[in-house]
């Protein structure tokens, strides 16, 4: 029971000096969250206006990014962000959902608990450390082993043509996959834990095997929550900066081949923002940031609503 509920229930008088000041402080701080969010959106829009006025729609359709000539076409960055995060998600989703099911439904309780905390540890590793491992261990390994193999056996496909560089779109996809798997796994796990026991018991009582129980009772119940977890992972992947910057090769080009270097929106901000000397250059980078912000706002709002819809149903609106 919250204090407000208690005061109204027992008709406790409020409005004494100390109470008034204290409540004022808490109101101020709580609303500062809204202020921060508003300020972020306002600043990003305001700072992007010069670039919007100059480039218009060409900003997202042009491929040419030249700070000296003041031509700003962000398409290669948008392409790099979209492709790297969608492919990373495509690889990560089955792995994450599978392991979340394994942890909650199949593994013995103690093993499941150990694996769950290992996954939490993975989610806590800073991205710069993933990047360090990616650029010093994974990229050389890709260059010497995986990429030559792909070129030899699948080189006829447009996705695997060119020379093995190591740092590449493929490296970014792999590192992003490794980074979003723990996030999707741990949220999916929470969602699956919210499935009522009675549903599962009913399926078992009707003679279902364990897989049939999962398919018919667990997954339909948690579907929207799992979808929310995947979308949240998408938001993380598209905004991920350090690890991707370190392994993607930072070359603004649109190439079908996954072996060639690419560039993403957060990476170009990370690399150029501190050194942007002209107003219009930093405004163009701000506009990239604004695109990123709008995309992640939409993604996060959607994901939150989906996850809330499941966990709320379980706790009867308590949260």
């Amino acid at each position: 029971m919250s204090q407000a509920a208690i005061t109204s229930r027992w008709k406790i008088k409020t409005g004494l000096n100390g109470d008034f000041i204290f409540k004022g402080i808490t109101v101020l701080f709580a609303f500062s969250i809204l202020v921060i969010l508003f300020l972020m959106i306002y600043e990003m829009v305001e700072q992007s206006l010069p670039s919007m006025a100059k480039s218009g729609w060409r900003f997202i359709t042009d491929q040419n990014w030249d700070a000296v000539q003041e031509e700003f076409g962000a398409l290669p960055y948008i392409y790099g962000s979209v492709v790297s995060s969608i492919l990373a998600l495509a690889l990560a989703t089955p792995l994450s959902v599978g392991s979340a099911i394994f942890i909650t439904e199949i593994a013995p309780k103690r093993l499941g608990a150990v694996m769950a905390s290992l996954v939490e540890l993975l989610a806590a590793i800073p991205s710069v450390i993933y990047g360090l491992w990616g650029v010093l261990v994974m990229a050389p390994w890709l260059q010497s082993t995986v990429q030559p193999f792909l070129i030899d056996h699948f080189g006829f496909l447009p996705f695997f043509q060119g020379a093995p560089y190591g740092v590449s779109m493929l490296a970014a996809i792999f590192i992003l996959m490794i980074m979003v798997v723990p996030i999707i796994t741990s949220i999916s796990r929470e969602v699956l834990l919210a499935v009522p026991r009675s549903q599962k018991e009913a399926a078992i009582a009707l003679g279902a095997t364990r897989w049939e129980m999962i398919r018919m009772a667990v997954l339909p119940y948690g579907r929207s929550g799992i979808l929310g977890a995947v979308i949240l992972g998408m938001g993380r992947a598209i905004g991920e900066t350090m690890a991707v910057t370190m392994v993607i090769g930072n070359t603004p080009q649109i190439s079908l081949s996954l072996l060639s270097p690419a560039y993403t929106m957060p990476s170009v901000i990370a690399n150029e923002f501190a050194e942007a000397t002209s107003k219009i250059h930093s405004s163009a980078l701000m506009e990239i940031g604004l695109i990123l912000l709008v995309v992640t706002l939409i993604i996060n709002a959607m994901a939150r609503l989906l996850i809330w819809s499941v966990t709320r149903r379980q706790s009867g609106g308590g949260r």
């Binding site: 029971m1 919250s2 407000a4 208690i6 027992w10 406790i12 100390g18 000041i21 204290f22 409540k23 808490t26 701080f29 709580a30 609303f31 969250i33 809204l34 969010l37 972020m40 700072q47 994450s96 959902v97 599978g98 392991s99 099911i101 394994f102 199949i106 905390s117 290992l118 996954v119 540890l121 806590a124 800073p126 991205s127 710069v128 450390i129 360090l132 491992w133 650029v135 261990v137 723990p182 796994t185 364990r210 897989w211 598209i238 905004g239 900066t241 350090m242 370190m246 957060p266 901000i269 990370a270 501190a274 980078l285 940031g289 990123l292 912000l293 992640t296 706002l297 996060n300 939150r304």
Partner: protein
Amino acid sequence: MKSVILRKGANMAMTGLMLAAALAVLVPLVLIFVHIIKMGLSSISLDFFTQIPKPTGETGGGMANGMAGSAVMIALASIIGLPIGIFGAIYLSEYGGSRISTVIRFAADVLAGIPSIITGMVAYTLLVVPMKGFSALAGAVALAMIMIPIILRTTEEQLKMVPGSLREASLALGVPLWRTSLKVTLRSAMTGVMTGVLLAIARVAGETAPLLFTALGNQFWSSKLTAPMAAMPLQIFNFAISPYEDWHRLAWAGALVLVTIMFALSLSARYFGRSRQKN
């Protein structure tokens, strides 16, 4: 009706697939840990904790200034972020009407999902541009903006778990509302609140992107809050993408130290969380 053998076969196959998925998730974890521990242990030395980075070409050096800088900025970020997060949570759980609380909660969740590099850009326009220079203060503000939603949400969850009877008892004894909030409600939730705070600190301790254009990094010692300051994650980043073998070794040592600190933080967070459950 499918045959029993077919159904049992499907069950076995799917169980195997999910086991494989779970193992595949843990493989990179093991690989990353093995490398950090192996490379980190072979590179770490006493110098790492006492020296600042040497210029290119010279061997040795450490990240002492980065560790100090990170500590200063995290402390400052906590000073800014803790009151906002905790008092905001008191509002949400004790006073807030349901609609406005939902809006603030939603805003906090959305804020937590904004890429940290954008937080850095905003701190840049709000602080670096008006102050005409990169500064540790701007870095700390960027980190605080990341901490606030985490602390707010965890603290609120904890305050809600405090039973209403405690508040009623305190009010019945004539304790004013505000003292009840601070001395009874917040205090009984303290261990849980600490868990949230430690997790928030662990999260920002490894943040690199928001510091790129706020604190900027510094090769030397600096104690001025209005000047660029070194930070460990920034140093790891810069050394990792450099072409020098010796700097790579420093980066691995830095990674080992950073991961150790973060695990210590999350283990103690878990310890706090567990001791609360026992009570």
